[in-house]
């Protein structure tokens, strides 16, 4: 038997990372005059996508079991609106609540939302697509029920958290801008949270019983049952996890946009799914990991950033490029699967 040191799944991850590096490198080469080489440009991609990273991490776990959760985008919109209206002063039609209480409530709602979806999917055996589609309509609908206007957030504490800059230690990547001012690159609180989520989920997937059970179920649900795993419970827990991470993502997203409106985060679920797929997660489950997903998000972010930096291209171009990348990665996965089969 021939044994390859690198299996095809690792190879997919490497391709994703290489693609990101090449893409970003090309951007640096072409747009060096527009400041693309500054570290801050890279960090801005993180800052813009902090919410998406959290949501996509949850989506990755769900997809690893072979499921899907398309409710996440409208849930994020719902949480943003909830936070915005909640913090609005009573005289302006809001609820006048403090931001820590609201954030805690959002996390609780996320868990409840996830457990309802998880119960329907895991214990009543309903298709995840249909269940989360109901979740999608609910979230989008509730957003408008809470308020159908754009509500900006003025609450001082939330604003302070939003504007808090965490500078790079030792002034890494510092540069002097055109006005002669020294700029030290920074990240936002959301980025710290998102990276923490990625690390925790990575370790959870790799080293805990729960994490390994997720992979086992995605690999072969029937086998997992026969090997004595509590498949239903693990699936249930996975959707709760996704709901919770979506709530965290919603808060991060809100910290970035500082408002709630009905058109927010439309299609975010698709961004999360495509990031996971580009990062090497199979829709059929069992293969993939959250590091890949992180790079998936970064690739999508880089594309948007490049198009924005160019300035002349239509803002719809990122979608087209993402589509091409998706096809490319799906094709790669299919080719690897065929190669595996041929080897037998």
């Amino acid at each position: 038997m021939k044994k390859s040191k690198i299996n095809s799944n690792t190879l997919l991850l490497i391709i994703t990372i290489v693609l990101f590096v090449v893409m970003y490198g090309a951007g640096c080469a072409v747009y060096s005059n527009k400041g693309f080489t500054h570290l801050q440009t890279l960090l801005n991609i993180f800052i813009t996508n902090a919410g998406l990273i959290c949501v996509a991490a949850g989506m990755t776990c769900v997809m690893l079991t072979g499921g899907i959760d398309i409710s996440v985008g409208s849930c994020v919109a719902m949480y943003c609106m909830f936070l915005a209206v909640g913090m609005q002063a009573k005289e302006d039609g809001g609820w006048g609540m403090s931001s820590p209480v609201l954030m805690l409530l959002v996390l609780i709602i996320g868990i409840v939302f996830g457990s309802v979806q998880g119960y329907l999917i895991a214990y009543l055996d309903i298709q995840p697509f249909i269940v989360s589609m109901a979740g999608l309509f609910f979230g989008r609908g509730m957003t408008a029920v809470i308020s159908n206007q754009q509500v900006d957030i003025q609450e001082p504490l939330f604003k302070a958290i939003s504007q808090l800059r965490i500078y790079m230690p030792f002034g890494i990547g510092a540069y002097v801008n055109k006005k002669g001012k020294l700029m030290v690159p920074y990240i936002s609180v959301g980025v710290v949270v998102a990276l923490l989520v990625v690390v925790v989920i990575y370790l959870m997937l790799k080293y805990t019983k729960f994490g390994r059970s997720i992979y086992a179920i995605g690999g072969n649900q029937q086998s997992a049952t026969l090997m004595g795993l509590n498949v239903k419970k693990v699936k249930f827990m996975t959707y709760i996890l996704s709901g919770f991470l979506t709530a965290i993502g919603g808060i991060c997203f809100c910290l970035n946009t500082m408002n709630g409106n009905t058109q927010q985060a439309i299609g975010l679920e698709m961004d999360a799914i495509s990031s996971a797929v580009i990062g090497g997660t199979l829709l059929t489950g069992g293969v993939g990991n959250v590091i890949g997903t992180l790079f998936g998000v970064m690739i999508n972010g880089t594309i948007s950033s490049l198009v924005k930096t160019n300035g002349k291209l239509d803002s719809s171009w990122p979608n087209v490029i993402t589509a091409i990348l998706l096809c490319f990665f799906i094709l790669l996965q299919a080719v690897f699967a065929k190669m595996k089969e041929a080897k037998k």
């Binding site: 080293y207 390994r212 072969n220 086998s223 026969l226 090997m227 004595g228 037998k344």
Partner: protein, 508 residues
Amino acid sequence: MENNLVLSMRGISMTFPGVKALDNVDFNLKKGEIRALMGENGAGKSTLIKCLTGVNKFEAGEIHVDGIEGPIVNKDTMDAQKKGIATVYQEVNLCPNLSVAENLFIGREPMTKIGTVDRKTMNKKAAGLMKELELDIDVTQNLEEYSLALQQMIAIARAVDMKSKVLILDEPTSSLDDREVEMLFKMMINLKNQGVGIIFVTHFLEQVYAVCDGITVLRNGTLVGEYTVEELPRVKLVAAMMGKDFDDLASIKPESSGDLTHAPLEIEAKGLSHSGTIKPFDLNIHKGEVVGLTGLLGSGRSELARVIYGADKAQTGTIKVDGKEVKIHTPIDAMNVGMGLLPDDRKAEGIVGDLSVRENIILAMQAKLGIFKRIPMQKQIEIADKYIEMLSIKTASRETLIKQLSGGNQQKVILARWLATNPDFLILDEPTRGIDVGTKTEIQKLVIKLAGEGKSLIFISSEIEEMLRTCNRMAVLRDGEKVGELSAEEMSQEGVMKAIAGGGEAHE
């Protein structure tokens, strides 16, 4: 327990709606014994196994396992596993995307102090287990990196490490090649020497005699007998499985027209094969001849037919139709040279339940013409009526949905479908299975009539009498290989059974 028994099942009975699946069946297994559980399809092998592993609930009887006080009833397979009864199925029930070590230990992984999976210890233990079983496997690799045979053995290793006393191997060899089967046998004997009792379910007679100590035969849900291998030579085993007392087999006079080997050739297959299902075979079929394919279930009867028809693409060999060499890659190619196939699983491969009788009849004709050439309605009606009358299909009208017809009549509709394409060569795979006696006779007569019109046929059936009545010649298959042919003179119940059983006395 007495006599060193590790498992003893007494008087197990169970009914499925309308069918007595098991009737008062006993099964005994000794420590360190490999016992084959044999029987034709529907004999009750799987049902018995499922009763043992807790998948089915039996109504009467007792199960005793060595070391456990009193009779046991298993709630599910997990419960059975806890009591030391492990099952390894034909298809590998492991997770291909996890490492070998994880597959061995999932659900009972060694843990570190902080509650995470201790991969180091797990890998070490797994490697030790592999070494013990003399398997050269890197346990950190994903399971899917290994061949099916090795995966099968890893599944067994998992079962064994759960400290099983009884290991059930349910047709573990059906997708393995000879060398892999050897490896598996080595492992089985290794386990047997460690005192594990093994129940081996298989269709392959060779394998029974290669590795087993005892044989238990079931037929129609009842116990035929428990034997040692020495007591039960092949021919007697086949007789026991088929329910014929070997000594008083009455020979049945064939109704068919006897030897046709001087007629011109219709089909000339040379060295056709499909890896994993059928080894290279030669087969000639003359015009107007009915050739029967005989052998036990799983011996490659249907598989041989599928290769000729292009349902499984032949990987080697050539085929001549009417003296001309043709390439058959798909069933459409086969249809275009005048072949037809009536598949054995008519529900899955034959009928289209929501179409009418008429539509089902013209389906193959339409496929042959291509989808753009529509057959005029008037002609469709003509054809449908012709065959409904000819085969006396009992249907309310030609527009009745086929799913409302009885099994036998559905079978006739499918037969009509192929007759409508006017084939020169027709393969009938178990055309009489599950239909009543009257219709069976009609179909047998029709086969003989078609042959009389100069058509060539392959006829596959599990019922030897039926084959003797309709066939001019028989090809014998065993373990995925064509092992011989029986001419009209050699065809008798006794001769056929000897040939099926093989082992020296057959016509090799």
